[in-house]
Subunit: 109 residues, 2 copies
DNA sequence: GCGGAGATACAGACTGTCTATAGGAGATGA
DNA sequence: TCATCTCCTATAGACAGTCTGTATCTCCGC
């Protein structure tokens, strides 16, 4: 029946993207690969999740983007963190700490 | 503008409910209070989130319920973990560990 | 020049949480 | 006994964000 299985917890995708871009600008599929790499394959972000997120985040003013050329000489859109995006990353990381601590407490009790 | 702010990460509500019920059977509002207590107020599960979740979980066969009387002599529906629910809790806790580890790794990098 | 792989993009479905509201039933005080 | 408060369960509808699936374009190797 193909029920869509949400593996990624709601809200964490943005945080992962922001974190990856904090290192430096990167194009869409590059971001996706990097996320898979740092999470050792736990999160494999599909294009249909990634691009809507990137556009939303650009609208929010957390990202800026421009056309460039990929490592393999293909036209690619590069995304770059804004100052606002950096602040957002800070705040999302704090939120994650708070939530994850609360759940650990609940599970440990 | 009253945008609905999802504080609870998708999928974690079930886990918290299962964990609370692993201690012993409990009625709806009791579960809600207990969650607020063990997470020190981080998660305040409102009725409109709680009851749909309980019904869904009962349909899945993770819970069993029956009418009883609350501590204050009011009619209350008591929810109880089934064996299937206990297995589900195990599996959700494992999933949480995996995911939270992956995110910690990503944030730490 | 043709097919495959790299890369971006959009439409539609689905899941689960949130807000808001309703209503019964016991306790309490006048 | 009546009003009212609190406890407890319940449903409807809105909404956000992720997933599946598909389309499009471009570069590269053969």
């Amino acid at each position: 029946m193909g029920r869509s299985q949400t593996e990624l917890l709601q809200g964490t995708l943005d945080m992962l993207i922001l974190k990856v871009l904090a290192i430096g600008e990167m194009h869409g599929l590059g971001i996706s690969r990097r996320i898979a790499q740092v999470t050792r394959g736990t999160f494999e972000v599909k294009p249909g999740s990634l691009f809507p997120a990137l556009h939303r985040m650009e609208e929010e003013g957390w990202l800026r983007s421009s056309w460039g050329e990929s490592e393999s000489n293909r036209r690619a859109r590069y995304y770059q963190l804004t100052r606002k995006g950096r602040r957002q990353l800070q705040s999302e990381a704090k939120r994650w700490e708070r939530i994850s601590l609360a759940i650990e407490r609940a599970l440990g009790a």
